[in-house]
């Protein structure tokens, strides 16, 4: 099994620094997701690992070997692209076997491997069709098959599900996860979709502005975001942020005192400006005016099926909360939002860093 290490990796386009000082250690068999908005450099990083992007400085090690300037085909990798990138004039069989033919694998062996993969991905009936005769989901299945057939130690996925509709996306997501469980290869997966990241990853690397913001298990990323960017980027709808000022073990937020001590690793000095973050599911919608919490008015209610999303206003501040679908709140209701104090996230108001 093959691990991947990136050591102080830097990439430049001309004089523009695209990535700098990237250090990443990906153990064998790990499913790692590079998550970030477009333009954060995640795809560039993936291309560099594949050998499709020149590296200005640093090292790429795959399976312990320095692969920094090795041709893509010799890196022991396979790659799946967002646009599928199937060879249009070749049949599915031709697509699957092309790489093996180039590598001069014996004909019988090619046939055996193609048949295996076709069976695994249930694309056997499609083998003699052209890509133009396939649906989007089938095409991506074939593209995944083309990667699997290479028998590579490392799989690289570049937003493979972004071109598919919602239903297919969740189907194929499960399939990719199943594939990982079965092949136990190292998988590096680039996406801007936080749900894909949460559901697939053993570990998520959140990137923004060419810098790694945080790496950790989905649980860590979700429950202990390292800064306001990660907190906002992961989770739907996004975390609520409230500005506050520290006073003792509390923060004064929009005139109300909120106990923040239990969310802090160390006490803060009075007068320090902080951002108090709370996820929508950690806010309780209470219709009882006597209940403790933030007074607010319901703006919009979105029924999601298993739950309802309540968008509230408190003066100029917008807040979102989740409530069971049995809730009867409606637009215009005056409510009180209860905060679970142990579920608060406290960030420095200036740096945005978690405190």
């Amino acid at each position: 099994m093959t691990g991947v290490q990136l050591r102080d990796l830097g990439i430049r386009y001309g004089n523009v620094e695209v990535l700098k000082g990237i250090d990443l250690d990906i153990p064998a068999s790990e499913f790692i997701v590079l998550l970030g908005p477009s333009g954060c450099g995640k795809s560039t990083l993936l291309n560099a690992i594949a050998g499709l992007q020149d590296v200005a400085e640093g090292q790429i090690l795959i399976g312990g070997h320095d692969m920094t300037s090795v041709e893509p085909k010799n890196r022991g990798i396979a790659m799946v692209f967002q646009s599928y990138a199937l060879y249009p004039r070749m049949s599915v069989r031709g697509n699957l076997s092309f790489g093996l033919k180039v590598a001069k694998v014996a004909k019988a062996e090619i046939e055996r491997r193609v048949a295996n993969v076709a069976k695994m991905l249930q694309i056997e009936p499609l083998l003699d069709r052209k890509p133009s005769e396939l649906s989007g989901g089938q095409r991506q299945r074939v593209a995944i098959g083309r990667a699997v057939v290479r028998d590579a130690g490392v799989f690289l996925f570049d937003e493979p599900l972004s071109n598919l509709d919602a239903q297919l996306r969740s189907d194929l997501r499960v399939e990719i996860k199943r594939l990982h469980q079965r092949l136990k290869s190292t998988m590096i997966y680039v996406t801007h979709d936080q749900i894909e990241a949460m559901t697939l990853a053993d570990r998520i690397v959140v990137m923004k502005d060419r810098i790694i913001q945080q790496q950790g298990t989905p649980d860590e990323i979700y429950n202990k975001p390292a800064n306001t960017f990660v907190a906002r980027f992961v989770g739907s709808p996004a975390m609520n942020f409230l500005e506050g000022v520290v006073k003792g073990d509390k923060a004064i937020v929009d005139g109300e005192a909120v106990r923040i001590a239990s969310a802090l690793s160390a006490p803060l000095v009075d007068g320090r400006k902080v951002i108090v973050g709370i996820r929508p599911e950690d806010l309780t919608v209470q219709t009882d005016q006597a209940a403790s919490g933030f007074a607010a008015e319901v703006d919009v209610v979105e029924p999601m099926g298993p739950e309802k999303l309540v968008w509230c206003k408190r003066g100029t501040i917008g807040l979102s909360a989740k409530t069971p679908s049995s809730s009867k709140v409606k637009s215009g209701d005056s409510i009180r939002l209860g905060l679970s104090e142990d579920r608060l996230h406290i960030f420095d108001a200036e740096t945005g860093r978690r405190l």
Binding site: P72, M79, Q82, F98, G99, A103
Partner: protein
């Protein structure tokens, strides 16, 4: 599966705004007539005898169809000192056109490929220079090219004519292929690299099979262009490799005796048979190829 009481689809095209439709047709038919009358006159004149031509009934059909003038144009019309007809030029034009077109497309496709998929240093500068070269009226370049070809010893030879044609075709063919390749997603190239395909493997196994419409377009353009060329063939071909167009000119511009309009018309039609054939048989490809750059797939 329409239900019985579903309303019949309204056929708007058939009756909507009949006046403007009539106008459109009148205009189109008029334009077609204007374009086709010279061709018609050429065809009927080529079948007429000289006596009939002298009566001056330009538009009438011939009284007696005669292939005699066609035969003469092909076999024994005088093109300068030799009187062997156009057939010599016909063969020469083939000898010039086929290698020129094949080489121009091969060179243009490979150059366009290098410029679009491989990060060649100064690719844009090279391409711009090439395009500027393509915009020069080539009458300007004739004299230097004569000097160059004679210095390297290919002036007045088949190789010389072909080389000049390939050089002149290169900018436009490269442009066609470069832009066509630029519309192909770069992921395809990356996927092939991961699969181990190198420079030529990607070109031949993946790119070329996708380029059939563009090859057809470039082929049609170059066949007609090179077949119809006059000046390159005249200057660089010498007497032995004068293409059909040069021989046609010699027939039409012969100054002695009576002008044989019927032979001249027949010769002209014979000369334009190949480009016409190319258009009629491959117009479908031409339209498809031009459109395929705009619409993906």
């Amino acid at each position: 599966m329409t239900t019985a009481n579903a309303p019949a689809p309204v056929r708007r095209n058939a009756l909507a705004a009949p006046l403007s439709r009539v106008l459109v047709y009148v205009l189109l038919i008029a334009a077609a007539i204007v374009a086709l009358v010279p061709l018609y006159v050429m065809i009927v004149t080529a079948f007429k005898s000289m006596e009939e031509i002298r009566t001056g009934t330009l538009l009438s059909l011939p009284h007696a169809f005669s292939f005699e003038h066609w035969w003469k144009a092909w076999n024994s019309a005088c093109t300068g000192l030799r009187c062997e007809g156009l057939k010599v030029g016909f063969v020469n034009s083939f000898l010039i056109t086929i290698p020129s077109v094949v080489l121009a497309i091969a060179a243009g496709a490979i150059t366009g490929y290098a410029l679009s998929f491989w990060r060649v240093r100064f690719a844009n500068v090279l391409f711009t220079v090439m395009l500027i070269g393509g915009f020069f009226p080539y009458q300007v370049l004739i004299y230097p090219l004569v000097r160059i070809t004679s210095t390297i010893g290919i002036f007045n030879s088949l190789v010389g004519v072909i080389a000049i044609h390939v050089v002149f075709a290169l900018p436009v063919v490269t442009l066609l292929f470069r832009n066509y390749f630029a519309s192909i997603p770069i992921d395809l190239f990356k996927a092939a690299r991961v699969d181990g395909a190198g420079y030529w493997r990607f070109f031949f196994s993946i790119l070329l099979p996708m380029s059939v419409p563009m090859i057809a377009v470039a082929g049609i353009l170059q066949v007609t262009f090179i077949w119809n060329d006059y000046i390159v063939g005249l200057v660089f071909g010498g007497i032995n490799y004068a293409p059909m167009t040069v021989q046609l000119n010699n027939i039409v511009h012969s100054t002695y005796g009576e002008r044989e309009y019927n032979v001249e018309m027949a010769a002209t039609l014979l000369t334009s048979v190949i480009p016409l054939l190319v258009y009629f048989t491959s117009g479908r490809w031409f339209v498809r190829g031009v459109a395929s750059g705009a619409v993906k797939g």
